[in-house]
């Protein structure tokens, strides 16, 4: 839709075009205002980068890269302080891994059911329920992980489970991201052309074969995108881990122990009133920058994958 095709009617010409004779400045102003609104989102990204980069640069002028990325001791408040980020990263990855182990099978199965098996009526009942799952505040999930899931685990597992542990946080986080995985995967499966299904049925395939051997492979890039987005959600989730996983940096792969994730550190360090100039204050931004880079890369990959599967069948 073109907007501003002001016709070139030179003054004095006898034949006037049917187009507008005078430019409508108001229309132009409105367009500029609307563009400015759209640019707020770009400004947000710029703002994120601007708020992260200078304190991070200052942080690395005081702490070496080698210590930050190579060290295994995270104790920014201790004396002597330790700035090895590994304990935070491994805790983040461990909890994310548990969450994905829960969310991918359950989310994918729900998506297959909703897309291939459910009648329209069951679909309209179950989809809002899944949406509710996505709309529950994460502080509530954290509470549930700490007060309900952890006691159940302590009761069920024969080994010692800490009051704060990665397992409960990971399981609950996995349930939280089921809707993310399910809804995007279902979109991808719905985009698979009906002809592929009909072809498979014509060859004598059963519904299960059609779902698993035709629809899922055909929608694979969309499904992978959903999983990657779920991963990014899990990496960036804060409240569940801050409440249920504990606040002690702990380099371990034992999910029954307390540990601190990157987001957990930012939340606990940032909730105090730190002096701007302190190294501890800058630590928040350094960890935040690492978190942003990680999730940005995953989101970007997910967007690319979604784009690819959309283009295949259109």
């Amino acid at each position: 839709m073109t907007t501003n095709s002001v016709s070139n009617t030179a003054p004095g010409t006898v034949r006037r075009s049917l187009g507008r004779t005078r430019p409508r400045y108001g229309e132009r102003v409105i367009q500029v205002v609307l563009l400015a609104a759209a640019l707020v989102s770009v400004a947000t990204t710029v703002g994120i980068v601007v708020s992260l980069v200078p304190p991070t640069v200052e942080f690395f002028s005081q702490v070496s890269w080698r210590e930050f990325f190579g060290g295994t001791d995270w104790a920014p408040l201790f004396n002597p302080p330790g700035y090895g980020v590994w304990p935070l990263v491994t805790a983040t990855l461990l909890i994310t891994g548990i969450a994905i182990l829960v969310a991918v099978p359950l989310g994918l199965a729900s998506a297959i059911y909703l897309s291939e098996y459910a009648t329209p009526r069951t679909r309209t009942t179950f989809k809002p329920i899944l949406e509710i799952l996505a709309g529950i505040p994460t502080v509530v999930y954290g509470f549930f992980a700490l007060k309900f899931v952890t006691p159940q685990l302590q009761h069920l597992l024969p080994v010692n489970v800490d009051v704060f542990n990665a397992l409960a946080a990971g399981i609950v986080m996995g349930i939280m991201i089921i809707p993310t995985v399910a809804s995007l995967s279902e979109d991808a499966m719905a985009a698979v052309p009906q002809a592929l299904r009909h072809g498979a049925y014509a060859l004598g395939s059963t519904k299960r074969t059609v779902s698993l051997r035709v629809v899922v492979p055909a929608a694979l890039s969309g499904i992978v995108a959903a999983i990657v987005l779920g991963l990014s959600r899990a990496v960036g989730e804060t409240m569940i881990v801050a409440i249920a996983a504990g606040n002690q940096p702990n380099l371990t792969f034992n999910p029954l122990q307390a540990m601190q994730t990157m987001t957990g550190f930012i939340a606990s360090a940032g909730s105090g009133d730190l002096p701007t100039a302190s190294l501890h204050y800058k630590t928040i931004f350094a960890v935040g920058a690492l978190l942003f880079v990680m999730t940005f890369a995953m989101n970007f990959l997910s967007i690319r994958l979604v784009r690819r599967f959309r283009e295949v069948y259109e």
Partner: protein, 300 residues
Amino acid sequence: MTAPAPATTRERAMSRLRGPRLRLGEQAFHVLLLASLAIAVLFLATLLVYVVYQGWPRLDARLWTDFPSIRRPERAGAQSAIFGTLWVISLTALFCLPVGVAAAIYLEEYADPKRWYNRLIEINIQNLAAVPSIVYGILGLGVIARGLGFGPTVITAALTLSLLVLPVVIISAREAIRAVPNSVRLGSLALGATHWQTISRQVLPAAIPGIATGSILALSRAIGEAAPLLLLGAATYVAFNPEGLASAYTVLPIQIYNWISQSRAEFTTLASAAIVVLLVILLAMNSVAILLRNRFQKRW
């Protein structure tokens, strides 16, 4: 489950085609899928029952008539958090809805998707929608609270949450605008209306139910957010309601977080009761959104 004595050859052939063994695998798979979905639903049901059960003793008027108190949990309420939530959410709506809808109009009605900058805006919005909320907290802390000097106030929280939910508002408003058929626009333009007249008098009114639905869902997300506000100074104990934009504040999720961190059992009960209040607000908003969608959804 084989039919007793198939009468015709055709039926016999059919029953051989769907042999009983095959059907068993099929049914097991079907059950497996349903079970996966059921786990999610059961989890949700358990969570709801658990918080109502836990919070039941404190689900009374004290919750909204009294202020938080650390020393006397039996007399503590969440009034300042409820008022703080109202303040922050109203301001968030005030900031992010106009901007979000305007951006959506630009992207749907004006932007040429082939231009690189429009594609950049689009990818940028998609990416922002998935940026962790705590990163917005860092943005609010670095740029709004400290950079602009707004400090730990209601307005800082509202601005930060606006930026946080802006991508969601834009994406849902775009979908609503896209759903208005092109014939409406062409008809209006053919009658001599200008581009903006067409948008403001034809497209937008038709898209409003969709925009409202998306906006309510976005705002309900903002109500439940706690992570960015932890960085923005909402974590402190507040025993008064906000009085203006520059007031200190707390909100329900942060109040809940505070109570969870207390070790005494009374605070767990209080936290559960406050969670019930929060969930009731959110469910009410969600049902309004669903109602709007069902009632005003037009079939063009």
